[in-house]
């Protein structure tokens, strides 16, 4: 099973990749929302979870989330927002747009590992 990590920070992609690999999943990476949509299109049913940052150049995470949810073929793919955008309005907007989980940075990597399990197992 593959997990798509959408982050403009190469460092954070590296940190999240470590967790994803440790949990036995294959990581896929995208630097922004536009790349994420291409990865989804290419890998289609193989992706079990998308971990999405919000503040990214070219296409941000919330726009990418909205586009993912417009496409029925991705209805079953959970999206976990992992972002520094932590105000209630942000969380509400992402939830309305179809996010399945929301983590506000800073968080411990173990919390992310737990959230991955929770979202994929359910």
């Amino acid at each position: 099973m593959k997990i798509l990590i959408v982050e403009d920070s190469r460092l954070m992609r590296k940190a999240i990749t470590k967790i994803v690999v440790a949990k036995g999943y294959e990581p896929l990476e995208a630097e922004n929302g536009e790349e994420a949509l291409k990865q989804l299109c290419t890998n289609k049913s193989e992706i079990s979870l998308v971990i999405m940052d919000w503040n990214m150049p070219i296409m941000d995470g919330i726009d990418a989330l909205e586009k993912i949810r417009e496409d029925e073929q991705y209805d079953d793919v959970p999206v976990l927002m992992a972002t520094s955008e932590g105000i209630k309005e942000d969380i509400d907007r992402a939830t309305k747009a179809g996010a399945n989980g929301y983590m506000v940075k800073p968080f411990k990597m173990q919390e992310l590992a737990n959230k991955i399990s929770e979202l994929i197992e359910t």
């Binding site: 470590k18 503040n55 520094s84 955008e85 800073p106």
Partner: protein, 164 residues
Amino acid sequence: MNQELVIDKTIVSEFINAVKKVLNITAGEDVKDQVSYLEKSAEIPGEISATIDIEGDLRGKVAVSFARDYARTITSKIIGCDESELSEEDVEEGMGEIVNQVTGKVRTDLWNYGYRFNISIPEIINAPISQIQTYEIIPVHIIVFKANKSMFAVQINVQEKNIL
């Protein structure tokens, strides 16, 4: 700089709290705020800096500046790898991630006080805080923190929009 202008204590306090929390959660570091400066000084530590711009009810620039070795230590803790595995680019991105998470947390916390602002993508500058350009009409507040093995600095160069 107009010496009558100072940064609101609540804003400074939120930045101090955010720095402590971000470094504790992401890198397991316990840091303490040691001393504050209201202008640039050669005594302020740091070799590599990351800045982020703020725009909204609060406007200006925030910067963090670390000694290069300490930046490498912190970055390795964020990723969970050995320091020798890190490239210079990794270390620079580590600095960017810290200023991004600190300012993001302050944005969240100050929302409760009525401040609405957005933050930019971080920029890395291979220089200490003393060489970072500031907005001259906006006051500067620099806080020096003490960590276990190093000192580092956070520069807040922000002001409420309605004061400008």
